[in-house]
């Protein structure tokens, strides 16, 4: 205990290196008594290096006082402290869920969003309750964050809820729903999206829509994606080719329209990324019955394989 007190005392040292080592030693001591002095030092500490060392030390201390302290830091006016607290909570894994579940209803919208930021990397029993509340949140940013996390974590049990939110047609929320449904949706999700879009998906939502199409579309949907290649800007080439490639992966017998040859060859020649160009080349392999494609492939394959080396 005397030794810990010495380290705690050195948190006030005028020497930056000494404060860093003090924090490190308190972390290694791994005692609950070390948590309050570390947390108390944070607002007063001007050195970024020391602040980072304090958070590293807190990560080393196993006591749950760290969790409670980090949750309190989510309310800090200091954005560094708030956001490092998110990282600290993430490092604890599922142990934080119960405390976050208690904190969520009492938190303001900014803090609720930060809690969801923690859950983006943490899974376990109890998260569903938080997500259910988040999906019904009055702040659309909280809902958007929840939708994003649910998609990434492959929480298919929330699919129906997210399909409903598509209908709200708030642009950013709709975008989040499309991205999530690309991961946890199914063919029905695509129908829901189409019924709400009424034949016209907003341009800036097209990349997300194409992800859903690629993930859940049918063989016949290749034509829809292929039809965009000539008519849309070059910035959409990557999501369009991704969608076609995914559809072909899931439906190997899907035929590629001959109208794809010219735009694909153009991308191979002058596409703006090596991956895009290779992808176009691979799709051309499905069009070898078209005139000139075999020769084109023979000329370009050696140039694009092996990172052009």
């Amino acid at each position: 205990m005397i030794e810990l007190d010495e380290h705690i005392g050195k948190l006030e040292s005028a020497d930056e290196a000494e404060r860093i080592y003090a924090a490190e030693d308190i972390g290694y001591a791994n005692r609950a008594e070390g948590v309050p002095p570390l947390l108390e030092r944070l607002p007063a500490e001007s050195s970024r290096a020391v602040r980072e060392a304090i958070f590293a030390a807190l990560e080393n201390i196993e006591d749950d006082a760290v969790i409670q302290g980090a949750i309190r830091l989510l309310r800090s006016d200091d954005s560094f402290l708030r956001n490092q607290a998110v990282d600290l909570l993430r490092s604890r894994g599922p142990r934080v869920i119960a405390s976050l579940s208690l904190a969520f209803p009492e938190a303001d919208s900014d803090q609720r969003k930060l809690i969801l930021d923690v859950l983006a990397s943490v899974d376990g029993p109890g998260t569903s309750g938080i997500y259910e509340r988040a999906l019904a949140d009055s702040d659309v940013n909280v809902v958007i964050t929840a939708v994003e996390s649910l998609g990434n974590a492959r929480k298919t049990e929330f699919r129906a809820h997210i399909e409903e939110a598509v209908g709200a047609w708030h642009p950013m929320l709709t975008g989040a729903c499309l991205e999530a449904l690309a991961q946890i949706g199914n063919a029905h999700s695509l129908e829901v999206i189409r019924s709400h879009a009424a034949g016209s998906v907003a341009d800036f939502l097209l990349p997300s829509y194409l992800k859903v199409l690629g993930a859940h579309g049918e063989e016949s949907d290749v034509a829809e994606a292929a039809g965009m290649l000539d008519s849309r800007g070059a910035h959409l080439h990557a999501p369009i080719l991704d969608a076609i490639a995914m559809l072909r992966q899931r439906h190997p017998s899907a035929l590629l329209p001959e109208s794809l040859v010219d735009p694909l060859e153009r991308i191979v020649r002058i596409g703006n990324s090596p991956i895009l160009r290779r992808q176009a080349l691979h799709l051309l392999e499905g069009l070898t019955k078209q005139e000139g494609v075999v020769e084109f492939l023979a000329a370009w394959q050696p140039r694009l394989e092996n990172d052009g080396a």
């Binding site: 958007i144 642009p171 950013m172």
Partner: protein, 127 residues
């Protein structure tokens, strides 16, 4: 010549969403996942404007903006914050750090593009 926007946000969805909006409006886009990544991207790519979130671990938006502004060559580079935090104190902090504009998420695509064009003006590429 297309203008390039550096988008800094820890959410993959938000980065992509803003990227799609800006690409649709004929901007080129570079993305970064936090302030530290943002600085590395800024120093290795030419860009005409930074669009940054505030709440990011490792390096938050205020610190990122301060470090950008500490470099003489980036004094005039337009910086727009786009954040969920909407209190006037947050906005004040943003301007004190050196931002030119503060937009609150979610911002409509049209308003975002209009605001960015307004802030960018005819400033040349910074390399």
């Amino acid at each position: 010549m297309k203008k390039t926007v550096l988008i800094v946000d820890d959410s993959e969805f938000v980065r992509n969403y803003h990227a799609y909006i800006l690409q649709q409006a004929s901007f080129d886009v570079i993305t970064a996942m936090d302030g530290s990544d943002g600085l590395e991207k800024l120093y290795t790519h030419a860009c005409d404007l930074i669009l940054t979130d505030i709440n990011m671990a490792r390096m938050d938006g205020y610190e990122f903006i301060r470090r950008v502004r500490s470099e003489p060559k980036y004094q005039e580079l337009p910086i727009v914050i786009v954040s969920t935090e909407s209190q006037s104190m947050d906005k004040m902090k943003g301007f004190q750090a050196g931002a030119n504009l503060y937009l609150v998420k979610p911002c409509s695509p049209a308003m975002m593009v209009e605001n960015l064009r307004m802030v960018m003006g005819p400033a040349p590429n910074v390399t």
